[in-house]
């Protein structure tokens, strides 16, 4: 360390001499490169001030003593920055550790999501789910039963980051502990609500939407718990309809009753489930309108469900300069 500083003093003296001789931009560029070396060696800024003083004393022996003494003061003031600099180093170590922990946790969280899309003859399903930061508070799930029904769940924990992720894992286990026989959407939400109500911190709320697609008669039954409405595209009319399902958010009421809705789905129709991270996309000072989302969906709806989802995400993410303010989940269920 002492040696390193001595060595740096020699280098710095050369840089100062060359610069004072030629006063060129090259000298200043060298100074900037030198600054990087100092940071690499974790030299504190007060050390730099001391080196500067020593170099001045050597180069200009005639400089008034008071000018040299003034560096004592500069060094003293620089100590504050020296402390901030040291703090920065330890903060960075802690941050790297924390970030790598969160990377592992985010990885674990990914394993909670379904690995494959259920295969059926009549449905083309696509999904994209991107956390605003590393851990997500959005959740989705598929259930395929022997009766030919495909269940699709989407949930959004109000809140983001680590607490939301912890809560999201609970939804997963709540879904896992459901009775074996398939449940109708309203009954399923009532069941999940019971688990949430018992286990979740009072400050956490969860919105959810669950739909069950009957691949035999093509009826789609769905219920919602305070969740962002989806869309239903009607091919015959070439129109998008809102897919609303009223119901209280999970975890608030002990015995809520959820209403069940149903739609007949025709060939070419498709259902869109989304989280509010899709619709509450902020561009500059304004929020994007639901109609604009529809415009994007329309732009890509000739593609497969997965490509449609991917492209809509890409457009919206690029509008927001790749800084998502909320977790983003979009599910497309096309009858083919």
């Amino acid at each position: 360390m002492e040696q390193a500083v001595q060595h740096l003093e020699i280098t710095y003296k050369e840089i100062v001499k060359t610069f004072l001789h030629r006063k060129s931009e090259l000298g200043l560029y060298e100074a900037q490169q030198f600054s990087k070396v100092l940071l690499e060696h974790q030299i504190s800024p007060e050390e730099l001030v001391s080196v500067h003083r020593a170099v001045l004393e050597e180069l200009f022996p005639a400089v008034p003593e008071e000018v040299i003494d003034s560096f004592d003061l500069l060094l003293e003031v620089m100590m504050g920055y020296g402390l901030a600099y040291r703090e920065h180093q330890s903060l960075r170590d802690r941050q790297l550790k924390l970030e790598s922990e969160i990377d592992v946790a985010a990885d674990m969280q990914q394993t909670l999501l379904p690995k494959a899309i259920p295969e059926t003859d009549c449905l083309d399903i696509g999904v994209i789910s991107v956390p605003a930061y590393k851990m997500s508070g959005d959740y989705y799930h598929y259930i395929k039963d022997e009766q030919g029904c495909v269940g699709i769940a989407i949930a959004d924990i109000i809140g983001k980051g680590v607490p939301a992720a912890l809560c999201m894992s609970m939804i997963k286990y709540a879904m896992d502990s459901l009775p074996e026989q398939p449940l109708q959407p309203a009954a399923l939400l009532e069941n999940v609500n019971r688990v949430v109500e018992q286990n979740v911190h009072d400050s956490m709320f969860i919105t959810m939407m669950y739909g069950s697609y009957n691949t035999i008669n093509h009826e789609f039954h769905y219920s919602g718990a305070g969740h962002e409405p989806g869309f239903l595209y009607r091919a015959a009319e070439d129109q998008f309809k809102e897919l609303c399902a009223k119901g209280i958010v999970l975890g608030v009421s002990k015995k809520p009753q959820y209403r069940e809705y149903s739609k007949k789905i025709e060939v070419g129709d498709f259902i869109v489930f989304l989280s509010d991270g899709v619709t509450e996309c902020q561009v500059g000072d304004r929020f994007i309108e639901r109609e604009e989302i529809v415009t994007f969906i329309r732009k890509y709806m000739h593609l497969s469900a997965q490509e449609l989802a991917d492209n809509v995400y890409r457009e919206l993410a690029s509008l927001q300069k790749f800084t998502l303010r909320d977790d983003f989940t979009l599910i497309i269920i096309k009858r083919v």
Partner: protein
């Protein structure tokens, strides 16, 4: 507004030339010596990024103006363009980039912090364009 001047960057001389152009223009516009150094550092980081990762590109500088309550506010706009490999994950670089961590784009968060406005556009294997502006106060 039309006074864009560009410096080609393909070696360290180009970096120094871009710095020199930035320092002169910012001085001309009326920036103080600390801001001159900040603008120059931002240019230097962008130019080095081009030199190290895209091999060649250019730094263009422009005097810009925008209306404020009383008259116009002047500023300097830096545009750094290259046709290099592009930055695969901008989000990653802008969030996790540390001053001393090295690697492609590592200096970008620093540039953002030194300047007032900052925008980046990068396409894989098509190159990167960074635009950064600092306004006179």
């Amino acid at each position: 507004m039309e006074t864009q001047s560009c410096v080609e960057v393909k070696n360290e001389w180009g970096i120094v030339a871009a710095r020199q152009a930035g320092r002169s223009l910012s001085k001309e516009i009326g920036f103080g010596s600390v801001d001159q150094a900040r603008i120059t550092t931002a240019i230097s980081e962008l130019a080095r990024n081009i030199y190290l990762y895209a091999k060649r590109g250019e730094i263009c500088l422009e005097l810009v103006e925008k209306p404020i309550k009383l008259g116009l506010r002047k500023g300097i706009k830096i545009i750094a363009k290259d046709h290099g490999p592009g930055i695969p994950d901008i989000r990653q670089v802008m969030v996790d980039g540390f001053t001393t961590s090295g690697g492609m784009g590592a200096g970008l968060p620093g540039v953002e912090r030194l300047m007032d406005d900052f925008a980046i556009d990068s396409q894989k294997s098509e190159g990167t364009t960074v635009t950064a502006t600092k306004w006179l106060r």
